[in-house]
Structures are given as structure tokens and as C-alpha cells.
């Protein structure tokens, strides 16, 4: 409200309306009646990073990558040690088995940190750390990692034996009709290269991270309208054999390369 102080009353009122509307997710259509509020057109188009209804979209748009760099390097107190300790502050993680998040979409990273913080996703390390950060901190860290290039590193794992690789390739390309499984590539891009700002590249991620994430997705029941619910509904249809084959397959692919052009933007 302080921004409107000093304005003429009629403009002050307009400014307050605009600020309140922006805080409500950007949906502003002056003159809309209550009965047709659902027809409101967002004042801004959705960005590749965030839908108009996501509460953190403004935070992410305004996030300071320099603050993110400081946070990544130094952490924030005992509950939130430096991100770089595991994920690295460059392209490749500092520790074995840690996902390679450099160059993934800022919206994707912010959505995951938010999901860990609000309990939608659950991870023994990431959940307490995300809860210890403010939304502004999470946005800054997401912005920092998203600005890094995708790592040009060797695959996280060697090529698995042929039967496992072919099973993984089939899941990537065709899914499994008998299990009601759609192809991973529908969303994550052909050969795991990622699509757009919100569908992450999974090629070249560590096998234990991929398999562990899928197993945890099988266990959770996220809010039905959330992005996590989509992944959970897929993971629930995967048996251990499918999870292990998909994880081994994607881990054996290069993180960058022709197949990963989408992620290397």
C-alpha cells in the first residue's frame, strides 16, 4: 500500500486495486462481475516459467541471481547448508549421485523447491532445507542454477545391459499399454532432453536419483491439481522393473548433445 501514498485519492484507489490484483496472481479485469469472474483474462500472459496462477511467479521474475549465488555458496544457517556442497556451483555436482540441476528451467526448479517446502514432495535432505528457506531465497537459488549452462559431462552411468536399455528405450518412446503407461518422452522430450521451461531434462541424471525420485513419487498423494500429481500418477503405474530400466536408460545418456537441444538452449 505504501506505493500509493501521495497519489490523488482516485489514483490511489486504482493503484490499490492493481496491487491487490497482482498479489492475487495477476488476474485483473476491471469491471468483471462476480458471476463471470472466471472469465477474467490475466493482465500478463503466462511465461514459459510460471502459469498466471502460481503465487511465486512475481518473486521468480524479480529474483536476484547474485543473491542466489551467495546463497548457493554460503547457505543459510544450520538448517540450510550451502546448495553447492552437493549440487556444485558450476555445471557438475560436487557429490556423487546428486542431480545435475545446472541449466534446468527456473520455473521447474522453483516449483520443486516449493513442493519440498510445502510437503507436496518429500525428500530427507531437500524437504528440511527448502522449508528453512524463504520463498525469496528459493527463487534466487532457482534463478542462479537456471542461468548456468547445462553440464557438458559424461553420462552419469555406463550403458546397462541390452535388455534393460531396450526396455528403457521402449518406455521413453512408447510407454507400456498393458500398464497404462504413457511414453516418458511425451513430456520429458525424446531421449529425455526436456521440453520448455517446466518439463525437465532427465537424460544424464544419476541412476539412483532417478530411481529414488520415481519410488518416492509412488508413495505420495499430491493435491490433484498439482504438477506433482501428474508425475505421481505415472509413477504409480511403474513397477520396480520399469523404474530401474528407465533410470538406467536415462542415466546412460549424455546430458547434452543433439538429443538434448531443448535443454541446451
Amino acid at each position: 500500500m505504501s506505493a500509493s501514498v501521495g497519489l490523488a485519492p482516485r489514483w490511489r484507489r486504482t493503484a490499490i486495486v492493481a496491487i491487490v490484483a497482482a498479489a492475487m496472481g495477476g488476474a485483473l479485469w476491471l469491471g468483471v462481475s462476480r458471476a463471470t469472474a472466471w472469465l477474467a483474462v490475466p493482465s500478463r500472459p503466462a511465461s514459459p516459467e510460471a502459469g498466471p496462477g502460481e503465487p511465486w511467479r512475481l518473486l521468480l521474475a524479480l529474483a536476484d541471481p547474485a543473491a542466489g549465488e551467495r546463497l548457493v555458496a554460503a547457505g543459510k544457517g544450520a538448517a540450510a547448508p550451502a546448495c553447492a556442497g552437493c549440487h556444485g556451483a558450476r555445471e557438475v555436482p560436487a557429490a556423487e549421485g546428486v542431480p545435475r540441476i545446472a541449466g534446468l528451467g527456473a520455473g521447474h526448479l522453483m516449483a520443486q523447491l516449493t513442493a519440498y517446502a510445502d510437503g507436496t514432495r518429500d525428500h530427507p535432505v531437500m524437504s528440511p532445507m527448502s522449508k528453512a528457506l524463504t520463498p525469496r531465497d528459493r527463487a534466487a537459488a532457482a534463478r542462479f542454477y537456471a542461468a548456468l549452462p547445462r553440464p557438458d559431462a559424461p553420462p552419469a552411468a555406463g550403458v546397462p545391459d541390452r535388455a534393460v536399455f531396450e526396455r528403457g528405450l521402449a518406455l521413453d518412446r512408447h510407454g507400456d499399454g498393458a500398464l497404462g503407461l504413457r511414453a516418458c518422452g511425451n513430456c520429458h522430450g525424446v531421449l529425455g532432453g526436456g521440453q520448455g521451461g517446466r518439463l525437465p531434462a532427465i537424460a544424464g541424471q544419476p541412476v539412483d536419483y532417478l530411481a529414488g525420485s520415481l519410488r518416492r513419487y509412488r508413495e505420495i498423494t499430491p493435491p490433484p491439481d498439482s504438477g506433482a500429481a501428474l508425475m505421481a500418477s505415472v509413477a504409480r503405474r511403474m513397477g520396480d522393473a520399469e523404474i530401474d530400466a528407465a533410470a538406467a536408460f536415462y542415466a546412460s545418456l549424455p546430458t547434452t548433445g543433439p538429443a538434448n537441444a531443448a535443454a541446451a538452449r
Binding site: W38, L39, A40, P45, R173, G177, R182, N186, V190, A229
Partner: protein, 592 residues
Amino acid sequence: MARRLPAVDAVVVGVGWTGAIIGKELAAAGLKVAALERGPARWSAPDFQAPEIHDELLYGVRLGLNQNAARETYTFRNTGTETALPMRRWGAFTPGDGLGGGGAHWSGAYYRYDENEFRLRSHYTRKYGAGIFDPTCTAQDWPVSYAELEPHYDRFEYLCGISGRAGNIAGKLQAGPGNRFEAPRARDFPNPPMKVPYASAIFGRAAASLGYHPFIQPSANLSRPYRNTEGLEMGACMYCGFCSNHGCEHFAKSSPQVCLLPAALKLPGFDLRTGAEVLRVETTPDRGMATGVTYLDHASGEELFQPADLVFLCTFAVNNPRLMLLSGLGEAYDPATGRGQVGRSFTHQTTASVALFFDRDDLRLNQFMGAGALAVTMDDLNCDNFDHTGSGFVGGGYVQVQVVGQGPIRGVTVPAGTPGWGAAWKAAARRWYQRATLIQITATAMPSRATVLDLDPTYTDALGRPLLRMTYDFSPMDQRLAQFLVDKAVEIGRATGASRVEPRYTRGQYDSTRYQTTHLTGGAPMGDTPASGAVNRYGQLWGTPNVFSAGASLFPHNPAHNPTGTVGAMAYWTARAVLEQYVKAPGPLVQA
């Protein structure tokens, strides 16, 4: 001589929505069911997976999932004095083929019919006088009521996971984006409505500013992941824009192969056979009972006789009357005398549109993001929701902006008068791709005495059987209605602030090359006596009580709303009548 197979309790001809529903219900009750589908098996995975399924040329233009018109088509003429010619490529409608039928690649617009559609003749006669009907109009009351079908609509909606918001629960109007004109429903939809695209919101705001009541169209494109009433998992729609004419890679479009068949196949009594093309229903010499069906097994080329105690005709709407005619079931309709019921009351649909062009450099409608049934629509001018006094028509139509996905081949709208190709077309396509949209009108179609389905005297299909011949034209009532609706839609178009509002009337004769919808109805209408319908209220043939017909061929007229909701509800209604009544005491369920 066809080889005789071991007998089954029931044979289902065609495995789309109705065949899957009836076959599964019967098998679940312990009956042995042979489900015969003439087309190939195809499943969401692997057959509908991306990126291949996003091929607009193959599926959208060349209709790769539809019936092969070079193998089997229809002949068409406008009047009985013309010679019908075969439709060698699809135009006015695009019939399905293969497992799941049209349900595999439909758009997903989901409606219940209005209560008055079921009592059309008596309602309009009582309110406006008998003169509101043209003398040639053969529309009649349906022998089933909305209230009877309500639980079956409900069941079908929870099977499909329909996305929508109720407008009327048990007579109480609901606030929000539901349809206040809808018939009362017992409970809300299983999933919330879809998101509202920009072009649809512009339309909805303009309609609301004129006092209309826009709503988000109920949709079989799912707004979130859903475990359905058969325990099957469905995904959420991604608004990818490759929906109508395509299969869905995300298991997010309600289809027999997503919502039903995996559960049916677990039942010991459900035997699914694809590539099994039924040639005819076999009967006793007096045609009083069916003995089974003869079909061609595409894999072996062999003709097989499948004996069965019950036969369910579950093919695409107009193919049911064709199969009846090919099998000598019922009496063929004669437009000269009005006698006979098979082939009567055939209707299609009257559609029209109004193109809107917004001459604004900064506008990006982004209609490439879409889904088959993603729309803001209104029913203020539909059914009897407005005064028909002096109108010269019954029924109405819904008016909407539906954003199905603006493919690069079919999704370009340019102003009338733009050259069809070359530099001027390209310049217009560039200018208007992001700045033009269509208000679409989908209206009632009334049957008239002269519209008829019969067997063509000249042309045959690839197997040598006569093609179905359509004799059809828009009724004068429908043409008056279409004019009225386009004029109203132009007013809404002007209220959007569009710089150019271009009505695209449907005038003159019905044109079999111009797409309307794939909502063909009638041809084997239900009636309350053998003199008013080919089948009774359960779809049971009057003269051959162990044969049932399902699907839109039963509808005595074509209400404006999309038919699939009622097709699904009627299939459950038929299945329940068979299991609760016929199986216990075989014979006619309605005394003639």
C-alpha cells in the same frame, strides 16, 4: 459356407463406446461375450504416443484413424430424384473405424440432452401450437425420459472423468462457470472444468455483456489425473492441440481403450476380436430371432459364423441401419408411403460460424494451445431456453469459441476474399494467425419425410455389399434456425471489439463436402410402437427381440448438443434392461 464357432451368450458388433459399455456390463454379469471390431486393435500406448501422434497431415487432414473411404463409404444425394454418388473422401462428417471407434479420436465435447428434447413434439406443440412444426417434419417424442436416463448419464460421466462444473444440481442453480440451463443433475462432475483460453474468454465476456450466460464446456479432456470407476488411471490434458482426429498420448481423453477395455479384458467372459468384420446378422427363416452373426476374419480371410443368443448392433450411427437392411431386419422405410422404420428420421447437423478479426499488433491469441472440447459456450439460444413464438423453428443451437488447437495446416483463418494461395494468402495468414478466431454455432437438425437411408442400387463396398445411400437436405426449419443463430452470433462478435466480423452462413442445399460435425443421428429411431420406431425404448428391435441396437441411430431427431453423453447413457440403460429383465425372461421388453 462359413465355419461355425462355439456359441456365446452375446455378440457385440463394433467396439466403440456402446460396444465396450454393453460388452463389459454383460461380461461382468457372467455372460460369455464375443466383441467383434472390424478395424485394427489400437491402444493409447504404443499407438497414440508422441511425437508421431501429433502429425496433423496424417491424422487431421488425411484422417488416418478414420474409416477408409476407398474400402467402404456412403453414397449421397440431396433429393430422391437425383442419382446418389459415393463420397470418395470424407467431407461433411468423418466416421471412425478401429478399436474404440470414434471414441478413440473424438474431440470430447460432453453434454446431456435437455429435458425437452425427450418430449420435443409434445412440448413445442403445447407451448407454441402444432403449426410450429413444418408438415414434413417427422420429429416425435422419445420413448424415454431425461429422468430415466439421469443415473446412466451420471455413471458415464464418472466412467469418463468429465471435466466441468454443474449449473443445476437437483433443481438448484449453481454459481460459477456451469451451465444454468442444463437439465438438473444429481451431483457435480467428477473433475473441475478446464482452463479458459484467451479467445474463449473474449467471447465469454462479450456474451455476458449482452446478458447471456456463458459457461465452460464440459469436456472429456481431463483437467487432472483421475482414477475412474473401473479403477483405471487417466492422465491430465496438456492442451497440446492435437486432439480432434488424434488419439491422446496422455490417457487424458476419455476413450473406450482408456476407460473401459483394460477392465473388460480382465473378465473371463469378454472375448475381444479385432479385424472381425460382421457381414450380416443371421436369423431364423421368419426373422423372428437372430441366431448369431457371420463375420469376415481379416487375418485369415475366412468367413466365420458366431452363434449367439443375443446380438448387439454397436456400429457407427448410420451403420446400424445399414446392417439391419443388409440382414433383412425390420421394414425398410419408404418415403412415398411413410411406412417402414429402418432408414427413417436420418439427420445430420446444421453448423455455421462467425469469423472475428482483431486488427491489433500486440494481440497473441495463442490458439495452438488447445484441446478438442476446450470452449466457452452458451445455451441461451439453445433448446427452448428462449421464446420461439413466430420463429418458424424448434430447438436451437449453442454458440461458442472452442480452441481445439490451431494446427498450421487447418488452423489458419483469413478474411473472405483473400486469395487461396500465393503471396497475398501468406501475408494474410501471417497477419491473422494470432489475431483471428471463430464463433462456432452447432444447431438442432430436424428429420423430414424425405430424408432417408437405404441401400444403394449401384455402388458396393470392397466386399461387394451395397453401400448405404443417404438422401438428405437441411429442413427449412433448420435453415431458419441457422440464420437466426448467425445473426445473434454477429451481435456477440461485434461486442468483442473485433475490427472485422464476418458471418459464414450455411445456406442453400446441404453440401456433403463441407464439414458439419460427425453427429449423424437416426436411421433406426426408437418409438413407443412398431409404427413409430425401428426399436423400442431399450433399443430392442420390435420384430426380433434378441437383437438390440445402440448409439445415435436411435435418436428420433438431432438435438444441438453433442451426442456422446446420451450415446453412453443409453448404452448403460440398454445393458441394465437386458440384465435385469431380458436375461431373466427373454422376449420383448415392451409389448407392441
